[in-house]
Symmetry: C2
Subunit: 522 residues, 2 copies
């Protein structure tokens, strides 16, 4: 396990400060004193990234794809050593860690495909019309080009899939951008192993030195220096609202402001429609309870809000939910800070007058989050901003509405969300068209009869909702469209054919989909 910072193809431990990760199941320090990066190491990393960018952006999609596939291979080659370290650092069970590793490697290979296939650059060609009156039309061509070095802040809750070799890194590398990872203090060992796997893959596939680096940090300084460095052109972050917003504001203070794609969590409202509750209330209750406690509730898509229209079936449903929650097994949370934050936020919610605790698991081990369901009336919910905040962990609040107007008022009172869910019978949806219209404005993804947890990595996924769920709801952090975050259009006018990038050459040597005079062709 590499204890130094990984600066391109070199290792560096200039500073005196060492950092360690802890086992959340025991609060014991884990082996490995990792070197926290210094300011001069940050500068070296960014200088290397800048130089690497000039070469890396010129490489073909096929070469970039090869690099991404090799990263996946190298991660798999780490075998159980990696799985064990992730489990120790995150408290996550083996099945979850192995599943997440699979997802991470599949994701790398999916972005390899995207890079290899090449159509993602949205090439567009308007052919010249030299005889057009009153003015001739020039030959105008456009494609997406990579923006430059991308700083990736790794997420606590996905030590693999949203971290060092996660979706942000994979999509930035696929786009042609060098990546600099700021390791998460909770999983320094995981980061070191994955970072070495990436650095090795870069060397094995002939990538330029500096295409990937990884720095450890003590506190915020390293992250701040990375965001402020003039060579940094984009930032990706998954984490708390506070953290994401701080980085976003910092990036706006730069001489050249840059985008920060911060995915900052959500309470993910689930609306239960009456016929569904009547017909399958018990199974919905079980589904929801499972989703609330999945990964100790530490998913950004955790269903933190369950909205129900009160009728004769409501009490039965809540009874079923209580039963299902009572049977849940508490899970170890990712770290002590997250555990303490969960207890604090959960208490804050439960201490609000009119909020009633419905069911909570009474006891758990070290740093285990206790699954909890509470309930409240719609008007208290609407008037109480604290209840609109995310309680990161296995907590969900049932909001009881008297009628459709209250359902709609609750929906209208919500801030931007990553997801919204409707549990209903197909036949009753038309009765709630107004509610659906409101929800479509509030969320990035609207689910019918499912749970919000489980974000499919695919072409059509949109994981990114209106602010404050993210800093920019126009982009996704999951799925192939995530590559678009790290590119910008470049237009080339009247260029000789041999000076054009392959994606824009008249003969279409890459065989990609392109818009030619407004028509898509390949």
């Amino acid at each position: 396990m590499q204890l130094k910072n990984i600066i391109g193809f070199e290792y560096s431990a200039e500073g005196k400060v060492k950092v360690q990760s802890f086992n959340p199941a025991s609060d014991e320090a884990l082996d490995g004193h990792f070197s926290a990066a210094t300011e001069s190491e940050v500068n070296l990393v960014m200088k290397k990234a800048q130089i690497a960018f000039a070469k890396y952006q010129q490489l073909s999609g096929t070469k970039r794809g090869e690099f991404l596939r090799k990263i996946a291979d190298n991660i798999e080659a780490l075998g159980d050593t990696l799985v064990k370290r992730v489990m120790l650092e995150s408290g996550l069970p083996e099945g979850r860690v192995k599943g997440e590793r699979g997802r991470t490697c599949n994701q790398l290979r999916l972005f390899a495909q995207v890079a290899e296939e090449g159509s993602w650059v949205d090439a567009s060609i308007d052919t010249a019309q030299p005889d057009r009156k009153p003015f001739p039309k020039a030959d105008i061509r456009r494609l997406l080009v990579p923006v430059g070095p991308v700083v990736v802040f790794t997420a606590s809750n996905f030590p693999l899939a949203f971290s060092t070799a996660g979706g942000d890194t994979a999509s930035a590398l696929a786009a042609g951008c060098p990546v600099i990872v700021k390791a998460h203090e909770s999983h320094l060992g995981t980061n070191a192993m994955i970072s070495e796997a990436i650095s090795k893959a870069a060397q094995e596939t002939g990538m330029p030195d500096g295409v990937f680096s990884s720095l450890n940090s003590d506190g915020y300084q390293v992250g701040q220096l990375l965001v402020m460095h003039p060579s940094t052109k984009s930032v990706a972050f998954t984490g708390s609202h506070k953290g994401g917003l701080a980085l976003h504001k910092l990036a706006q203070k730069r001489e050249e402001p840059i985008p920060v794609f911060a995915e900052m969590g959500s309470i993910n409202p689930v609306f239960l429609l009456p016929q569904a509750v009547q017909n399958k209330g018990e199974s919905i209750a079980q589904q929801l309870a499972g989703s609330v406690n999945l990964g100790a509730g530490q998913f950004c898509t955790n269903p933190g809000l369950i909205i129900i229209k009160e009728d004769k079936n409501t009490n039965d449903f809540i009874q079923n939910l209580r039963k299902a929650v009572a049977q849940l097994t508490p899970c170890t949370m990712l770290n002590k800070g997250i555990f303490e934050n969960y207890n604090q936020k959960r208490s804050n919610a439960l201490n609000i007058q009119a909020v009633q605790e419905e069911q909570a698991v009474a006891e758990g081990g070290t740093n285990q989050g206790l699954p909890t369901i509470a309930s409240v009336d719609a008007s208290t919910f609407i008037q109480n901003p604290a209840l609109h905040e995310e309680v990161f962990g296995p907590f969900s609040l049932v909001v009881k509405c008297q009628n459709n107007a209250e359902l709609e008022a609750v929906a209208a009172s919500l801030k931007g969300q990553l997801t919204g869910t409707l549990m209903g019978e197909t036949g009753e949806l038309n009765t709630y068209s107004q509610l659906i219209a409101i929800l479509q404005k509030k969320v990035g993804r609207l689910i019918f009869n499912g749970v919000p947890t489980g974000v499919e990595v695919c072409h059509s996924m949109h994981h990114g909702g209106p602010y404050p769920a993210t800093t920019d709801g126009r982009f996704t952090s999951v799925g192939t469209a995530a590559i678009k975050r790290f590119a910008r259009p470049l237009c080339l006018q009247n260029f000789p054919n041999d000076q054009l990038p392959d994606a824009l050459k008249t003969a279409n040597p890459l065989g990609i989909w392109r818009t030619v005079d407004g028509e898509l062709i390949r």
Copy 2:
């Protein structure tokens, strides 16, 4: 000519403050005392826009297209009355005004086509795989949806094509967003006529009341209130760096920050390569002089910087440029403020030691900008931030470089630009590949052997460079891709087919291009 504010289908003149436009050719006030909007009128406008949005976003692309086409028809029906008023308010000659009217109407019809054709929503479908192991794959579909009410700040330099019914309005309406225009104080009469044409078109084609409004203002307050209003979801602006940045910062202070697409100008470097200067220096000099003085130099793509590698032909070239500039006829600038600002900025540049005035037209009429060419050595240019600022008007600075390294250093010292231009022979381009690589990072559009003025409205255009040319170089304000500014992805998971928007229904009733399981098909 409507002197009141146009609030949806109503007229309103609640406030006491009246504003007037002036004829820049004479400094005389023009007829028409227009009512400046009050805070309560701003609130009424936004309330109407919010209500209109619910209906307007549901309309088919065909209906929106009909609306846009009717706007173009109504503008054309204004005939010479409009042309005369634009000429009086802008000082622009008849040919230019008629040309710009043509461009404006073509642009409206082009966005009508985009809305009607419908593929712009980037529909993507991942079909369900219920039997997939270990987890079934849900049906996931995604499309772009309009963001909501858009505030458009009209541009001084394009009273038609970048103003009330310009590209911002056309693309926002095509996307399904209501538009609120903040009229430019320089062309209040033009705005009133065009606004009535739009409002009439909305009524004639059955659009909801509030889909379009237009407010006059005295000072900044109306604009600020519009940007800060919670119902506003996006802002488009074309103008000065100061103005664009102020709006951008304001929008970041909102509880829900929103994007401001500000196109803030540029100095548009033109690099002259030696063989081209040797073979066709005289024609290049004439082309550049014409481009510098086009529209009194009041284009955001005005070539404000001419970079040349010194050799035996340099003096001849500069001589040719001086001759060409001496023959230019000064033109009336858009308003007194712009004229005074031009003189100030031009003086500032000329007063810098080492900057040499090469040629300036000596005399002009009221508010006419005097075409001016100056020169400076590369190292002075690189070290002097003031020379990197736009001089809005018919001014251009020749920067003399000793060698390729200086050419590259000048390119590297540039801020983000809307355009860059290379004048060269095809055969010499390979010698300057490093320069070309640097320029591609600095600009939104790179032109070979042409002038930057003249921005084609087409599919492949990208009019938007890296900051500070714009607040967001990932988006264009010209061409069909401009519609993407006013939309965001929405993902629908597991929705019944009849509840999906037409663009996502399995049978593809709109016949649009869609990505289905990663493959583009129609």
